[in-house]
């Protein structure tokens, strides 16, 4: 896809996010909006996938794992828009009986979801295991894993961070949604993350940085990670993002981490986001 086409998809995804959390008056719009560009680039440009024939084992495909599961509206919208399930199903988000649970789960049989996430800090371990399975299977496709930055405070992340380089898991590309905010405030105030780049480098990762809301930079960076895969080193991208990106009053604050917009706020937000693919 061209960069402009990817931007159009991202705009529609952002509309979906606002409409989903507004519709059920529940969910996490801030982080969802911030990570939209990264995951749009993955699903619409980078990954080799077969959405119409979803396979749990992902054999012969690239695979994506969302560790910070609370930004599920973003993932659900992208999966639907990419053809994993009907777009109309987005209207069921967080409602009784839905396959679009508050946090992603494979239990309801939603195509595109392979493991539950939401209890933080666990996705990188799972992604590393999937990457190991691909190696055993002689499958040279890649495994991508998006994590939050606040999530880096979980100890298990650092168990996996130690594991992947030590065991040469070089078919794994981790991405940190580095928006420097979490529920209680800025990451600097809650728990200073220090120099994440130096930390991962010292653990043995190849570290890249990019603006995670600049589609060209995202695509360029992911292209490099794909080129450098299978070269003996685990890779990670620190994607600098803005929580709430695309909606002016949701940016520059952590207040929209887990708060839905009211009718007026939703209308305001949607007026800032171009409808490119048709609302669900």
């Amino acid at each position: 896809m061209t960069i402009n086409e990817l931007k159009d998809v991202a705009s529609q995804v952002r509309r979906d996010i606002i409409r989903m959390v507004h519709g059920c008056q529940s969910g996490h719009p801030g982080g969802s909006l911030g990570a939209t560009d990264i995951v749009t680039a993955l699903y619409f440009d980078q990954m080799q996938i077969d959405p119409k024939n979803f396979k749990m084992d992902g054999a012969g495909e690239d695979m994506f794992f969302l560790s910070n599961g609370h930004i599920s509206p973003m993932l659900y919208s992208i999966l639907a828009r990419r053809g994993y399930f009907p777009v109309a199903e987005l209207a069921t988000f967080r409602r009784l009986g839905t396959r679009l649970q508050g946090h992603p789960t494979p239990v309801e049989g939603l195509p595109g979801i392979r493991v539950a996430s939401g209890s933080l800090g666990q996705g990188l371990s799972v992604a590393a295991g999937v990457a190991q399975a691909k190696k055993l299977n002689g499958d040279n496709h890649l495994v991508f894993c998006l994590m939050g930055d606040g999530e880096q405070e979980e100890g298990q992340i650092w168990e996996a961070a130690m594991y992947a380089p030590a065991k040469n898991v070089d078919n794994l590309v981790a991405i940190i949604d580095y928006n420097k905010k979490q529920i209680d405030g800025s990451t600097d105030d809650v728990m200073n993350l220090g120099d994440l780049k130096a930390k991962y480098e010292s653990f043995g990762w190849k570290v890249y940085e990019c603006n995670g809301n600049d589609m060209q930079q995202i695509v360029d960076t992911l292209n490099i990670t794909r080129k450098n895969a299978h070269k003996g080193q685990a890779q990670i991208v620190l994607a600098h993002t803005e929580m709430g990106m695309g909606v002016d009053f949701m940016m520059g604050t952590h207040k929209w981490h887990g708060t839905p917009p009211n009718d007026e706020q939703a209308a305001n937000a949607l007026s800032q986001l171009k409808e490119t693919l048709g609302d669900y």
Binding site: Q122, V126, Q132, Q156
Partner: protein, 316 residues
């Protein structure tokens, strides 16, 4: 069942040998350990299938996540570490990426209970069965000797779904037939009787076997059933036995809260209330000592089963 002691072996060796056999039968079987290859007797598997063995270091949470990932990729992972680190330490990880996500991961838990011995309470988990049986989708197995643990390991590989497999450290009587297949969810009749139903699991099955002749001398004809599958519980076998005997003893190397006794009591309360006596640890942590000393100290020994049976019969 004909009871004949073939030798004295640790159940963890049954796991190690079962894993090797499961690995030979199915190339999808993989092993993981958190720096306890030797303690879990996984060395033979690691040697036979080095590319299918993952040493993850002392990082149990990461190990379970990696196992879930391997399961997603179509493999049948067996994680091996001490029971406490296979359960309490990583309960949320097991809950989310194994049980809730319904992944084909086998959590293999050694050194369970007080018979771990001298290491003391930090390592003597007595709560794991309770935690694991509360998780939807989880099958919980507590085999009683070397042969049965080996067979249970092979059976676990053939079951599609999460399994918690609990076993122990000390060498104990190996008495079940070597060729007996392990049927998950099917209780094992050890000896039929008419006066009291003894339901036991793990190491305490042998202690209950030792109680049988003592009870017989007292005129109590006890029925002994090995509940090697705590979940799904063989409710039919329990009710059938109780309908005949009218009273129950449970015996386990576990906390009374949450253990086998709890499960049996629930079945009785809901279906056919009868007197029940529980041989289990009564809401205290363990301590250092030899396995035999500890079994005696915490009233998990043969005389305790005898006394419990007498009390149960008297309450009829």
């Amino acid at each position: 069942m004909k009871i004949e002691v073939q030798n004295y072996k640790d159940t963890r060796s049954g796991f190690g040998d079962g894993l090797l056999e499961a690995g030979k039968r199915n190339p999808k079987v993989v092993g993981l350990t958190a720096d306890l290859t030797g303690s879990l007797k996984m060395g033979d598997f690691a040697k036979a299938f080095p590319e299918r063995f993952f040493q993850v270091g002392i990082a149990e949470a990461n190990m379970v996540g990696i196992a879930a990932g391997l399961a997603i990729g179509g493999y049948i992972p067996f994680t091996g570490t001490f029971a406490n680190f296979s359960s309490a330490r990583i309960y949320d990880q097991i809950r989310m990426v194994v049980a809730y996500s319904n992944k084909n991961v086998k959590i293999c838990a050694s050194h369970a209970g007080v018979t771990l011995g001298e290491d003391g309470a930090t390592h003597q988990t007595l709560e794991d069965v309770g935690m694991m049986k509360m998780l939807p989708n989880m099958t919980v197995l507590v085999p009683c000797d070397y042969n049965q643990t080996k067979a249970a390991t092979i059976a676990a590989a053939e079951l599609d779904g999460p399994v918690y497999l609990r076993f122990g450290r000390p060498k104990v009587a190996n008495f079940t037939p070597a060729d007996e297949p392990f049927i998950i969810g099917k209780a094992q009749m050890i000896q039929e009787g008419t006066d009291v139903s003894i339901f036991a699991c793990g190491h305490l099955v042998w202690k209950a076997i030792e109680a049988l002749p003592i009870l017989k001398e007292m005129g109590i004809n006890a029925e002994l059933i090995n509940i090697h599958t705590i979940k799904p519980l063989d409710v039919d076998a329990v009710l059938k036995s109780v309908a005949k005997t009218g009273c129950v003893v449970t015996a386990e190397e576990h906390m009374r809260n949450g253990g086998l006794g709890d499960s049996i009591a629930q079945v009785l309360a809901l279906n056919n209330p009868k007197p029940i006596e529980m041989v289990a640890v009564d809401d205290v942590f363990g301590q250092s000592g030899t396995p035999d000393e500890l079994l005696k100290h915490y009233h998990l020994d043969t005389p305790d089963i005898v006394e419990a049976a007498k009390r149960a019969v008297a309450r009829k």
